[in-house]
């Protein structure tokens, strides 16, 4: 049996009260709060990259990672993508997304090669905040190389999975 309700939630009632803040003021307040976390975020990113490096640079049998190790890489890389996007580290964001695309693709294909993952991890390290100065030309070369790695395996980007069309894309304007 199907029933249809038309509930009024407390959230809607509270939000409709007089007073409150405008969108501009609310976003400014949130950005101010976020900006105060930038330094801490950088250290979280550094820690996540170090954890990934510890995984990929450890000795491996037949130069292959385990499934658990690849899942751990994905978990930490996902955190880096979130923080890089939040704090507008665009190059780090791109490099880490590539790492996620590759690792996810390898996992799905049941291929546990360490070598291509190492290449991507090196790119992530290069683009990390506080890292080496990289010119636009050099960055373009690196990203073209990463693209080649992904196209070699014929892995598509995670952002192109059909489900992704169903979510709100939140391009950041946080400065």
């Amino acid at each position: 049996m199907k029933m249809v309700h038309f509930p009024t939630t407390r959230f809607s009632e509270l939000a409709a009260r007089a007073g409150g803040v405008t969108g501009t003021a609310a976003v400014e307040g949130a950005l101010k709060n976020l900006e105060s976390s930038r330094a801490e975020s950088d250290s979280v990113i550094a820690k996540a990259i170090a954890t990934i490096e510890a995984i990929v640079y450890a000795p491996h049998v037949n130069n292959c990672l385990t499934e658990e190790e690849m899942c751990a890489i994905l978990r930490h890389a996902d955190q880096i993508v979130t923080l890089a996007g939040t704090f507008c580290y665009d190059r780090l964001d791109m490099a880490t997304r590539s790492l996620c695309d590759l690792t996810d693709g390898l996992l799905r294909a049941k291929l546990f090669y360490a070598a291509p993952v190492v290449v991507l991890v090196k790119a992530v390290r290069l683009m990390a905040p506080g890292g080496a100065e990289v010119s636009q030309e050099e960055a373009d070369k690196v990203f073209a190389g990463l693209e080649k790695v992904l196209s070699h395996f014929q892995f598509s980007s995670l952002s192109s999975v059909p489900d992704c069309q169903n979510a709100e894309d939140t391009k950041l304007d946080a400065g």
């Binding site: 407390r10 809607s12 509270l14 939000a15 969108g23 976003v27 979130t82 939040t86 709100e168 939140t170």
Partner: protein, 190 residues
């Protein structure tokens, strides 16, 4: 929606995310909007335990939790007795969790938002949830907000009749196959 005014003071929320730092970032955004500091949970079990005793006004849940998915948690919430089952729920999905989106929607989430979430995007979604009422469906297979809805801006009082509205109406095809015509609002319909 930069001039949209909304009063989030005294709004209580539950934020469920396994990553403490990400939890902190979202909590800071919510505080920046004037909301009360959210209750925090790092697992689905902790969230369930909280929801057995408290009724927050809003839930924000990460797509994948260590012990269950957001879909499992929301499905459980939607089957509770009382007003708690209607609680607006936003699912935040990380880059590697994009395959979970349909599952979260079918679990009964109100809106699914990709991480990283900008303050503006999160605020716009809160305004959307507050102002656009959606029927709540209760059937054998699904309990949650109607997954079919017109993706138009919240009412601004400008257009009073359908004939005044510049947004094209459905052409009569299956509503479930319609796509959004407004880029900044949720694009999915079930």
């Amino acid at each position: 929606m930069s001039h949209t005014r909304i009063n989030l003071r005294n709004v209580t929320s539950l934020l469920v995310d396994s990553d403490a730092y990400t939890r902190g970032l979202v909590a800071q955004m919510l505080r920046g909007f004037g909301m009360e500091p959210p209750a925090l949970a790092d697992t689905g079990a902790a969230a369930k335990n909280f929801l057995k005793h408290q009724c927050p006004d809003l839930c924000i849940v990460e797509a994948v939790l260590p012990d269950m998915t957001s879909a499992d948690l929301i499905r459980w919430v939607r089957r509770l007795k009382g007003p708690i089952r209607f609680v607006p729920t936003i699912v935040l999905t990380g880059y590697t969790q994009l395959r979970m989106i349909s599952a979260a929607r079918d679990g009964g989430a109100n809106i699914i938002v990709k991480k990283p979430t900008s303050p503006k995007a999160l605020f716009d979604h809160l305004v959307w949830i507050a102002r656009v009422s959606r029927p709540f469906i209760e059937s054998d297979k699904y309990i949650g907000p109607d997954r079919r809805f017109r993706t138009i801006d919240p009412p601004d009082g400008k257009f009073k009749r359908d004939s005044d509205d510049p947004v094209p109406e459905s052409d009569g095809e299956d509503a479930e196959s319609q796509e959004s015509t407004v880029s900044h609002l949720p694009k999915w319909v079930a």
